[in-house]
Amino acid sequence: MGVTLLGIRHHGPGSARAVAAALAELQPDTILIEGPPEADELIPMAAHPAMRPPVALLVYSDADPSRAGFWPFAEFSPEWIAMRFGVGAGVPVRFIDLPASHRFGEALEDHEQQHGEEAAEQDRREDDDAPSDGVSHVLDHIHRTDPIAALASAAGYDDPERWWEDVVEQRADGTFSALDSFGAIADAMSAVRDHAPPEDEEREAYMRQCIREAVKAGHQRIAVVCGAFHVPALADPGPAAPDAKLLKELPKKVKTTATWVPWTHGRLAFRSGYGAGIESPGWYHHLFTAPDRVVERWLARVAELFRAEDLPVSSAHLIEATRLADTLATLRGRTLAGLTEVTEAVQSVLCGGYDTQMALVRDKLVIGEDLGEVPPDVPVVPLAADLAREQKRLRFPPRPGQTEADLDLRKPNDADKSRLLHRLNILGVAWGELGRSRSTGTFRETWVLDWQPEFAVKLVEAAIWGTTVVSAASAKAADRAADAEQLAGITDVVEVCLLADLPDALDPIMGLLADRAAVDTDVAHLADALPALARTLRYGDVRGTDTTALRKVADTLVVRIALGFPHACTGLDEDGARQMRARMDNTHQAVGLLDDAEASAQWYKAMQLVADREGMTGLLAGRAVRLLYDADRIDGEELNRRMGLALTPGVAPTEAAAWLDGVLSGGAMLLIHDPVLLGLLDRWIAGIPADSFTDVLPLLRRTFSNFQGPERRKIGELARALGSAPTARSAASVEPPGFDTERADRALPVVRMLLGLNDEGASDG
């Protein structure tokens, strides 16, 4: 009978070579591969010229795309080789693993991790008690997930692939038959299985059923490529009835969709937390592609890498490293040097014994950053297809590893890239992370880009929101705004929408915002919402987005705030007053950004009220006076008057001190440049009764401690010079101490000349 079982090591380059040789020898008329049957139709794509591994098959449940499984393939995966061979030879190729759709129907905790069945992250997070996650289970599992590694370690090899090469491929007599070697592997597996508890019975039953089907269909030479561990179970299918019975009990299938997605070497690596991963995809790739002299070629690549980083490496280094690696292997009783020996030799000879540079080797070579490619005509969810189109249009392909992108928003292409990234962020596809604070640069954005293969799942999940990136992001943003509990939550969404340029989303959100602002009676909420709006309006200018609707909302928001503000400022305790002062400052800044005459007028009117109202919290009244003064709404004389009023003996010293804090915080220039104010302050402090002085002192200290050191020194100097001078002198006559009039006069002629005032200067010179 014509069933040949090829027991392989998943992601094993040695297995891959053997499978290629065996298939060439066998010339099968059908090939069955351990993999998800849902993806059968996608197999021919493996031979597509634009398909470049590492890639993965993604199978997800239509009803709940977060329930998904990945089957990754690298160039050196035996399954990949078998697929390409079959497609190339024109023979039917089928996947024979238990359909993933059964598993998606199962309860989550029943979720056994196998090779390939690498459930999406979401799945794993819920799946807390998945046995393969526990370190203690690793040893139990290695027999099942990687029995060839178990055999190798029993033979004293820590690099299973080198063991394979040594034992399976390099026969003493120089002959090698891939088919014979698979026979030997099958025998060994029978021994391994004797000690392993039965597991995966359903999967193996399904595989047997598939083999029976293929036999029935009249195929003569059937090649079955499956994990070595399963080989003994498939060797003799026996009667079909028990298998059929077992499979009947499976949970119902759910509807699924399958597609190809690009994968990365980093994801293949153990490091990323996938139990069935391999530690060194880059090394395996090297083993698979290097025609000969594996160690020497690897060391040459290491040298190239180091030289590119300006680390000197000579050929003599490589000679010595090769010798050391070989000697180490001999010392350990291994015929061939494995990755361990090569790595140790590199560290000892090239890196002076230290492991700092070794991290470079690990990331760039042992794991090897590589992102696969999938042909554009692979069936994908419309959303992912749209993203691919956008990436192509903007010449903005995803790359493996972290990269930085500096976008100049004045360039149309860059602006589009920025929009795309913002939109993807709304959809939960965090491809780019915006660096730096947005308050500094308004036309530049620096993004840190890091494409993760799991984004394929995120895109499938996000597909419920729409078929294009724009429409999906709009829908999701609108949904987020509707769910927002506070007004500020909505305005945050508005800001994001503007950054992402989602005008369609903006309209309903604006309506929502206007409605909510109208009914929200809490001025604090309104005030919290304003700054984000003001910022976005400013951004709109740079990005060329239409912000008229937004401006209308913002202006009405200012009016609402202005009306409610004076009332909100009364009856506050100290903490409340401090929070309100922050709101006052933020709103004031926002109003300044909005730069709308009417809104500003409203706001200043409110400030005037706050400043005037009797019984107003001192801190806020003082702050209002200061803001008005800064905005030139009251002049210096008025300020003096108000200060005089606030600092009269009739006002409680603590209240007066709070008022002062409001006026003075955020800059001492006022005091330095207005000697009258300083004089008032000086007299007030001198007049505070002894018993309340100690109460006021901490408040004053707090106010003054916010000033810069030089400012404080200056005020001190001025206060000393002031003495008890009762009269106000003009600002011009205040000279800093140590000012030498005579020397300054000598510089005047030159200044005159520079300013072109020669007629006066001539008389002097």
């Binding site: 000197p312 000579s314 003599a316 280094h317 010595e320 010798r323 050391l324 000697t327 180490l328 001999t330 010392l331 350990r332 361990t340 140790e344 030799a345 000892s348 000879v349 890196c351 002076g352 014994g353 230290y354």
Partner: protein
């Protein structure tokens, strides 16, 4: 031979029986040996890492640490490359180099001690001036350095503290290591290294003001960094074992196994070294000293001497308090603060550390 009066025996003397047993095991198994090696590489690694031979002879572990390090060291010497052992003080660099030389060449005495004043003669050869004046330059008038003797006999030469040797003297090694020859221009002759010759150098990467190796010289060495012990258990094992053998050599009276105190010293050292308590909860200041296993060994050995001669014959916290203070406080001003903080924040509250805390307080007060 007055073995018993010697303060410290060479490795090949102290472990002569083990070396002999390994030689026999090699012969029985017919393991191949590199030219002029007394033992096979396998036997050398067993000698260093310990194990039980087929005939039941127990080989004690000389180096407790990663197996990989010893294997790289042996593989290096087997490829006729020079070996450079680097590490902070007290990580058994000299210890490993001595035992490697003893196991491979049966002679660990071909030693050049590197100092800032090491002259070129110590690396090449000097002259017996009486001979030189009387008979002119000849081989008889030549005084070979340990290095030259190692070359002539195909043995392992050791250079201690290579980075302390002035750069120009260091460079003498380049020809020796690459050409494997030592020219003697005065005689128009040379000494060519016999097979089996190699150099084990040690260097300290903590000291400041050392003479960094030139890249030409560095290229001729395979470098192995000896790490500080990875786990507390490993370190306790190292300290216990060395204290025991030291005690024997110094003929200290027998003190009952002081496992608990050793554990305590190791804990203190590890916590201060890493700046973190074992439970990972409290951050600590780290003192300026290295706090290596070697220092832990001397603290415990000193404590045992105190306990045996002045105490009640049992190692008590009071016996190690003074030693530990001396080991931690190297710089009077800063380290003292570190130590007091450690005592007050960590040692004070710890269960079973009451005696230790009080003794340390007494000593540091």
């Amino acid at each position: 031979m007055s073995e018993t009066t010697v303060l410290r025996l060479h490795a090949e003397q102290a472990f002569a029986h083990e070396l002999e047993a390994l030689r026999k095991a090699d012969a029985d198994a017919g393991r191949p040996k590199p030219p002029r090696w007394k033992l096979s590489p396998w036997a050398v690694s067993t000698y260093l890492l310990g194990g039980t031979l087929a005939d039941g002879v127990e080989i004690t572990a000389k180096y407790i640490g990663p197996r990989r390090i010893v294997e790289i060291a042996i593989a290096t010497l087997a490829t006729d490359r020079a070996l450079l052992l680097v590490g902070v003080p007290g990580t058994a660099k000299t210890w490993v180099s001595e035992h490697l030389a003893a196991a491979i060449s049966g002679d660990s005495t071909l030693l050049v001690q590197g100092t800032a004043g090491t002259p070129e003669e110590a690396m090449r050869y000097g002259w017996n001036y009486a001979q030189l004046l009387a008979h002119g330059p000849s081989r008889d008038a030549l005084v070979p350095s340990p290095l030259m003797r190692a070359m002539a006999t195909g043995a392992i030469a050791r250079i201690e503290e290579l980075t302390r040797i002035p750069a120009d003297v260091q460079d003498t090694l380049i020809t020796i290591l690459s050409e494997k020859t030592l020219p003697i221009p005065e005689l128009g002759e040379e000494t060519q290294a016999e097979k089996g010759f190699s150099v084990i150098a040690t260097a300290n990467d903590r000291d400041k003001g050392v003479n960094e190796l030139s890249s030409a010289l560095r290229r001729r060495f395979n470098t192995v960094v000896l790490p500080l012990p990875g786990t507390a258990e490993e370190e306790i094992e190292i300290v216990s074992q060395r204290v025991k053998s030291l005690g024997k050599a110094l003929e200290l009276p027998e003190v009952p196994a002081a496992h608990e105190e050793i554990r305590r010293v190791v804990t203190v050292f590890r916590e201060l070294r890493s700046g973190l308590t074992t439970d990972g909860r409290t951050k600590l200041k780290t003192p300026s000293g290295t706090l290596s296993p070697a220092e832990a060994i001397s603290v415990v050995a000193g404590g045992i001497a105190l306990a045996a001669h002045f105490g009640d014959g049992t190692l008590r916290p009071a016996d190690i308090a003074a030693g530990i203070l001396g080991a931690v406080v190297k710089d009077a001003s800063t380290d003292k603060l570190v130590w007091q903080e450690y005592l007050e924040t960590v040692a004070r509250g710890r269960e079973g550390w009451g005696d230790f805390y009080r003794s340390c307080r007494e000593v540091s007060a």
